[in-house]
Symmetry: C5
Subunit: 390 residues, 5 copies
Amino acid sequence: MEYDGDFAEAGSRNRLRGTPVQYPCGKAMAKKRNGKAKKNIWKRRSKPGDAPGTLVVDPNASPTLIRVIGFGGSDIIEKEIKDLQELRSLIATTPRLWVDIVGLGSDATLREIASLLQLHPLAMEDVVNVYQRAKVEDFDHTLFVIARMIDGNDAGLTEQLSFFLKSNVLVTFQERHGDCWDPLRQRIRQRRGKVAEADLDYLLYSMIDAVIDSYFPVIEHIVEQVDALEADIIEEVRNEQMHRIHELRGQLLAVRRAIRPHREMVNELVRDTIPSIRPETRVHLRDCYDHVIQVIDTVDTYRELTSDLRDFYLSSVSNSMNEVMKLLTIISTIFIPLSFIAGVYGMNFSDESPWNMPELKWEYGYIFSLALMGLVASVLLVYFRRRRWI
Amino acid sequence: MEYDGDFAEAGSRNRLRGTPVQYPCGKAMAKKRNGKAKKNIWKRRSKPGDAPGTLVVDPNASPTLIRVIGFGGSDIIEKEIKDLQELRSLIATTPRLWVDIVGLGSDATLREIASLLQLHPLAMEDVVNVYQRAKVEDFDHTLFVIARMIDGNDAGLTEQLSFFLKSNVLVTFQERHGDCWDPLRQRIRQRRGKVAEADLDYLLYSMIDAVIDSYFPVIEHIVEQVDALEADIIEEVRNEQMHRIHELRGQLLAVRRAIRPHREMVNELVRDTIPSIRPETRVHLRDCYDHVIQVIDTVDTYRELTSDLRDFYLSSVSNSMNEVMKLLTIISTIFIPLSFIAGVYGMNFSDESPWNMPELKWEYGYIFSLALMGLVASVLLVYFRRRRWI
Amino acid sequence: MEYDGDFAEAGSRNRLRGTPVQYPCGKAMAKKRNGKAKKNIWKRRSKPGDAPGTLVVDPNASPTLIRVIGFGGSDIIEKEIKDLQELRSLIATTPRLWVDIVGLGSDATLREIASLLQLHPLAMEDVVNVYQRAKVEDFDHTLFVIARMIDGNDAGLTEQLSFFLKSNVLVTFQERHGDCWDPLRQRIRQRRGKVAEADLDYLLYSMIDAVIDSYFPVIEHIVEQVDALEADIIEEVRNEQMHRIHELRGQLLAVRRAIRPHREMVNELVRDTIPSIRPETRVHLRDCYDHVIQVIDTVDTYRELTSDLRDFYLSSVSNSMNEVMKLLTIISTIFIPLSFIAGVYGMNFSDESPWNMPELKWEYGYIFSLALMGLVASVLLVYFRRRRWI
Amino acid sequence: MEYDGDFAEAGSRNRLRGTPVQYPCGKAMAKKRNGKAKKNIWKRRSKPGDAPGTLVVDPNASPTLIRVIGFGGSDIIEKEIKDLQELRSLIATTPRLWVDIVGLGSDATLREIASLLQLHPLAMEDVVNVYQRAKVEDFDHTLFVIARMIDGNDAGLTEQLSFFLKSNVLVTFQERHGDCWDPLRQRIRQRRGKVAEADLDYLLYSMIDAVIDSYFPVIEHIVEQVDALEADIIEEVRNEQMHRIHELRGQLLAVRRAIRPHREMVNELVRDTIPSIRPETRVHLRDCYDHVIQVIDTVDTYRELTSDLRDFYLSSVSNSMNEVMKLLTIISTIFIPLSFIAGVYGMNFSDESPWNMPELKWEYGYIFSLALMGLVASVLLVYFRRRRWI
Amino acid sequence: MEYDGDFAEAGSRNRLRGTPVQYPCGKAMAKKRNGKAKKNIWKRRSKPGDAPGTLVVDPNASPTLIRVIGFGGSDIIEKEIKDLQELRSLIATTPRLWVDIVGLGSDATLREIASLLQLHPLAMEDVVNVYQRAKVEDFDHTLFVIARMIDGNDAGLTEQLSFFLKSNVLVTFQERHGDCWDPLRQRIRQRRGKVAEADLDYLLYSMIDAVIDSYFPVIEHIVEQVDALEADIIEEVRNEQMHRIHELRGQLLAVRRAIRPHREMVNELVRDTIPSIRPETRVHLRDCYDHVIQVIDTVDTYRELTSDLRDFYLSSVSNSMNEVMKLLTIISTIFIPLSFIAGVYGMNFSDESPWNMPELKWEYGYIFSLALMGLVASVLLVYFRRRRWI
C-alpha cells in the first residue's frame, strides 16, 4: 500500500462517509455553498484606523434583495420591495412587518435601509462584516441579534444572520439566498400557529430556534461518521483512518466555535433585562437554550471521544506494525545462524590436513550438518515460543 | 498471535468482563434493552422551522399505558386507566395521585393527557423527544423534571423519565416498561414509610433518588473492570487490552454525560426558589445531591485513572517490543560478522599463488578460523553485556 | 533482562521504596489495615428504591464499642459504656461529653444511639455507608461532619470518621479501632491545653486538624519516592520504573480524591453561618484550611511533576533503545557489503574462460579482495562518522 | 534527505510562508523592527529594593520627540514641541489636545513631562518599563491605559503604548516611531468624522480600536499559514513541517499572551465605573471588546487545531516510516531463506560418501534447487499477502 | 555516543546553562544556599494531635538574632538587641520600629518575642514551620503576612519571610541571613524616599515588592535558557536536551508553586478590608499585584512553550532516528538480493549434468552474473528513489 495514495483513495473514504446528510433546509442552502469560502476567519474589510461604523461592502457579495411579509392585520402582504418609499409606507401602516434583506452586495441600498430604519452604524458594520460571533446588543429601542446558521454539507461553513427588532418591524439580513424559514413563512401565510398571531419577538424566537435546530442534522451526521469510523478501526486499521479522525475533529472544532457564542446570546435573551422580549417568549427561549447546551455538550463529548479514538487508532497501528516487524525479525533471526553453519561448511580449507574440516569427509557429514541446522532452528523456535514471541 | 484475531478472542475478553452486573432493577430493564438503540444522540423528529411544541411521536415507540396509584385517603386505589374520563374523576377525588404513563407511542392518548392535565406544549415536546438532558423547569403551578435512568447492562444506554408535579397529581412518563420503583409502589400499597404519608414532593424525591442510585451498580461494575484490567496489564501485556481501555473510557464518558446534568437539576430542586418542594424534602434532596457528586467524582477519577493506565499500557507494550527487537537484533549482529569470516574462507582464489589465502593450506587453518569466529563472538558478547544490552 | 520478571524484581523496587513511612498514629492504624479492602468505591448496601434513611449495616464491620470522656466539671469521667441508660444520665449531668463510638457492626446498638441522641436518619445512613466524601451538614441543632483519615501505609485506603456536635455532646463514629486522637485524650485527662478548657467545638476542630495532619506524612512519603525515582531515572533507565511512576500517580490520585472534599468542608466550617462554631474557633479552622490547601497544592504539583517525569522516562527509554538499535544496525550494515564481496569470490564460475573471475587467478587476488573489503568498510565508517551516527 | 539540512532548506519553507503579510500600518512599523529584540520578557531595569516609581530609562531607547495636535477650537494646531513651556501654554488654551510622545530615551524630558502633566510616578515607571501587560488604572482624575500593538512582521514582537487621559489632554507614549494612527490624524486634520468632534475619550477609543485591529492581519496571516501547512501535510509529509508547526504554535502563543490582557482592559473601560469614559463611547468600546474576544477565540481555536495537526503529522510520519520499514524488512525476509538454501548447496562435503549432498549429483539438481527457492519465496509472498502486509 | 554518559557530559550542558544568573540580592543569598535542602515540601515538626500553636523549633535552624531600626523621630536608631527589655522600651519610645529577626533556631528567644509582642500562637507556629504558602491573616490588631523569596541560584529553593504589622512596630522573621532589603535600610538611614517618611505599611509594601522583584531575574534566567535550548534543538538534536527540558519544566513548576499564592496574598492586601493598609499604599500594592500576575503569566506561557518544545524535540529525535534506520535498512536491502545471487553461483552442483548451472561454464558467465547484480541493484535504487526513500 503506498503512502502517497492514501488520501487519494477516495473510494474507501467515501464508503465511510456514506451519503451526504439530508439537510432539512434543502436545496437552496446546498446550492449557495461556495467551494472556496472555506474558513470563518474574520477578514476585516475596513482598515485599522478607519472611522468606526464605516460600511465597506464585500465586492463579491450577492446584490441586495428586499422582501417583506406584513401580517397581524386583515391582510397578509408579501412582496418584493424595489422602492424604499414603499417600505416606508408599509412600516407606517402594517401592524407587524418582517423585512427580509438577502445579499449584502449593494452598498447604496444598505445605506438607505439603515438610514430609513435608523439602524446603528456600528451594528450595520457588523452586518456587512459577515464574520461576527453570535451576540445580542440592545441599542435603546432596537434589539440587535447576530446568529450563525450552519451549512448542512460543510460543518466548517456558516452563514451570518443579523436581526433588528424594533416596535412593529423585524429586519433580517442574510448573506445568501436560501434559508431555514420557509415553514415559518408558510405558517404566517396560512395564519396558522402562534407565529402568525403573537408579537414579533415570537417570530424572532422562532427564527433563532430554526437556526439552532439547523445544527442538529450536522452534528448527527458527524456523530454517525465517528461511530462508523470507530467500528471500522476496531475491525481493521488502515492509514487513511487517521486522516478521517483529523477531519472529524476539525469539523467538531468548527461547529463548537460556531455554536458556542449562541449560548451567551440566547442566555442574554432569556434574562429579563431586554424589554423587547416578552416573558411568555422567554419560556420558549429557555427551551432554545437547552438545545444550544445539548449541541455544545454533544460536540464536547465527541471531541473527547475522537481524542480517545485517536489514541486507540495509534495504539492499534503500533500493535499491528509490531506484529509485522516481530514476525519478520524472527524469521531472519532463525535463518541467520543456519546460513552461518552453511557458510562454515562452504569454506575451502585444504583437505590435506586432517585437522581441516574433517566433517566434510564424514560419511554422514551432510546429514550431520542438516541435523545441526535443524537443532539450532528448533532451539530458537522453542525459546521464542517460551518467551511468547510467536 | 494474529492481529486480526485480537478482538475476536471473545474468550479472554469475557474472562475480564466476568459475569454481567447484578442490576437491582432486575429483569424488566434487561428485557427492554434494545440492541440497536445504542447512542443517546438527540434525533429531533420535528423539523427545523416546525412550530415549537409540535408533538411528533416516534413511530417505533411502545403504545401508551396509563396506571394510577391513588393514596393518602382511606383507600389505596391502583388500576390501569383506559378511559381518560375516569382519570379526570380520580384527580378530582383522590388526595394524592400518581399517574404513571409508560410508552410514548400513542399520539392521541398523549395529546389528551396533556390537555386534561394542562401540561405545557413545550414540556410535552421534551417528553416525547427522548434525548433531553436532565433538567428542572417551573411552569407556573407545574414543576417539570427530566431525569435519565441508566441501563444496568449497557452504560451507554439511558432511558428518559419525565415528571410533572402539580398540587395533588404526580405524572411520570417512561419510555419503556420496567423501572426502579417497585419498592416505592410496595411501600405505598402497604402504607409503610414516609412515602405513603408525606406529600407528593417526597414521592418525587424518592423516585429521583432511585434513579440516581441506579448509577451506582453500573459505576461499580466499570470500576471493577478497570481494576481487573489494571491487574491484568501489570501481569502481562496483550493487544486486546487497549481495546478494553478504550471501551471502558467510552463507557465512563457516556455515564458522565448522562449523570452530569443531574447535578444542576438536583441542585435547583434543593434551592428554595421552587414552591412545590417543601423544606423538609429539601434536606433529603441534599443527600441525593451528595450522591450525584459522588458518581461524578468517581467517574472523573476513573477517567483520569484509565488515562494513566493507557499510558502505562503503551509504555509496557513498547518495553515488551523493545526487548524482543533488541534480543533478535543482537543475535543477528553476532552472526553477521561470523558469516562474513566463513564467506571469506569460502572464496575460490587460485591456490597457485602463495599470496592467495594461505590460511586454507595451514594445518590448523580450520581451527584457526573457528577460533577467530569464537573470538569475534566473545568480544561482541562481552561488549553487549558491558553496555547492559543483554 | 526478561520482561515478565520486571515486576517480580521486588528487591530493586523495595530499594526505591525504602522503609515504610513512620506513621505517627502508630501501630493501631497499621494493625487495622485490611489487605483486601483496597478501593474507596462507594458500595451502597441499601438497594435503589429503599426508603431513604434505611440503616443497613455492613455484616463484616467490627462490633460497636462506646467509650465516653466527660470533662469540664470537677472530675474527668472516662469509661466504656455497656448500658445506654448510663449514657443518657451522663449526657444529663456532664458539662462536656465526648461519646466515641468505634466499629459500625452492631445494628441494634447504632439504632439505639441514634434514637437516644436524636441523630437524623439520613445522617446515620451516611455514617454506616462508609464511602462518603468529607462534608458538613447542619440539621437544626446538630452539626454533622464527615472527614476521612488516610492510612499511613496505603495511600489508597482511608477511614471514614463522622462527627455530631450538639450542645454538650460530641459524638464520633469510627470504622475501626485505632485513631490519631490519643494526644487529645491525654491532654483532656491531664487538664492541659485549650482542649480541656474550651467548648466542644474546639475539640471538634482539634480532631479535624489531627485528621488533616495525618495526610502530611503520607504525602511526604510519596514525594520522597517521586524524588528518589526521578534521581534513579536520570541515573539509569529501567523497565520497572514506569510501573513505579504509574503506582505513584495512582497514589496521588487517591490522596487527591480523599483530601479534596475537605477543602469545602473546612471552608464551610470557617464561614460564620454555622452557629455551633464560635468565632475564636474559626481562627483555628482557618489555619486548618491552609493545611488542606497545602496538601492539595502539593498533590497537584506532584501529579504534574510525575507527568513530566513520565515523559522524560519515555523519552529516555526511547533514546536508550535508539542507541542500541542504531549501533547494531550499523554493524550489520557494514558487514553486509563485505559478505557480498566474499560471496562474489566464492562463486564457482568455470576457470576455463579467461573472462570468468580473473581476480581469482591474480597473484595478489586475495589481498586485493581483502583490501577492497577494507576500503568499503572504511568508506562506510567515515560516512557514518560524518553523519554523526557513530 | 539529510536531517541537518532540514532547517537550512529555506527554499521549501519560504514557499510555505509565502509573501510577508501586507501590514496595514505599513512601512514605518516594518522599519522599526529590531532583529534582536525578540522576546517580550520583562526586564526590569530598576533593581529589587529600589524605591518604587524610580524612572530608569533604557539606554538603547530612541530619543524622545513630542508632537501635539490641538483641535476642537477654530484652528487645528499640529506641531513638534521642543520647549515644554510651549506645551504648558497649549494645555491652557486648547480645547482638546493630543500630546504624542515618541521614543522613551530622554530621561530628563520624560521627567519634565511627568511633572508638568502631573503623571503618577508608578504609572511613569510602567511607561518606561516597556514590558507591561495591557491594563487600565484610574488615578483620581487621570485615566491610565496600557495597550500593546503587534508587529505585522513578527507575531512575537509587540510595542507598548501608554495613554493618559485627563480633562482636555490625551497623552500617548510610544516606544518607537511609526504607528497605526495616521488615518486618525488625517480625520482630525480634515475635521472629518466623530473623532474630530467628539471628546477625547472617543479619540482614546479610536486609538485602542486601531491597536486591536492591528492584530487581525497578523492572525489572518498565521491562519493562512496553518491552513496551507495542513494542506501540505495531507499532500506529503516532510521533516521540516514539524518545525513549521512548532513555529506557528509559538506565534499563536505569543499573540495570545499579548492580546489576552486586553480583554480585561477593554472590559474595565466598558464598565461604567470610570468617569472619564462617556456612556456613548462605551457603546463603541463594547464593539472593540467583541473584536478582542474574536482574536482570542481564533487564537485558541487555532492552538487546538495546530495541536490536532501535530498529532496528524506525527501519525503520518509514523505511517510513512512504517511503510518503508515494512517493505524493506519484507524484502530481506524473503531473501534470507533463499540465501540459506544457496548456502547449503555451497557446502563442500566430500562427494565420496553417497550420503553427502546427493542433490549435487542429480541431473536436475540445480533446477530443483532453483525451484525450491521459488517455492519458498512464493509461500512467503502468499503468506505476506494474506496477512495484508504487502 | 554512549547513553550512560549523556548526563555526565557536564561540559556540553554547562555550555547551555551559561554563567549563573546575576542575582541582585547578591552574595549573602548565594552563601546561605544549602545544597541538601532542595525541596519546599512541608515537613511538620509538630505531630498530628499536638496542641495547635505548639512551637517546635527546627534543631538545625540558625540561632536567632534581633536587629532593630527605629525611625520617624529625630534620630535613626539601628542596633542589635541582646536583651528583650531593651526592645520593650524601644517599642514604647520609637515612632516607627522595624524589628528584624533572623534565624529561627532559638526556642526561648522566639517564645519571649512572641509573648512580648503578643503575637498569635497559630501565627508563630507558621513562622517556625517554614514551609507555608504565601498568605495574609488579620488577627484583630495585627496584620500577619507570609511571603516566599526565591533563591537566585536555585529556582527550587525559596525562603519563608513572615511579617507582623501592629501600630508602630513591623516585625519580620527570616529563615537565614542575607536578604533583598539592603537598599531599603540604606534609604531609611539616609532619610531618603517615601520609605523613611511614610507609615510602616509602606515599608511592608516595599519589602513585599522587593520579594516579588526577586523572582524576575530567576524567571529571566530560565527564559533565556529555554530560548537557548530551543535554538540548540533546532540546530542539532542531542540526547541530553530532553534532560534539560525536564529540568527547566521542573524549575518553572517550582517557581509557579512558590509565586502563585502571592497573587491571593497581594490581592487581599489591595482590597480595602484590612485597616492597617492605608489607601495610598493600596495604589502601590496594585502595582505589585501587576508584577505577580506578570511572573505567573510568564511562567505559564513558558510551561506551555516547553511542552511544545518537548513535542518538537521528540519529533526531531524520531525523525533523526528514522533517517538513520531508513538509510541503513536500504543498504541492507540492496545487498541482500546481490548476496543471494552470489550464493547461487557458489553452489557446488556437479558439472556433469548439462542442466546443472550452465552459466558457470559460459564464457561470459561471470560478467553476466555481475551484470545481473548491477541490474537488480539499479532497479531497487530506482524504485527507492521513486518512492522518495532516498
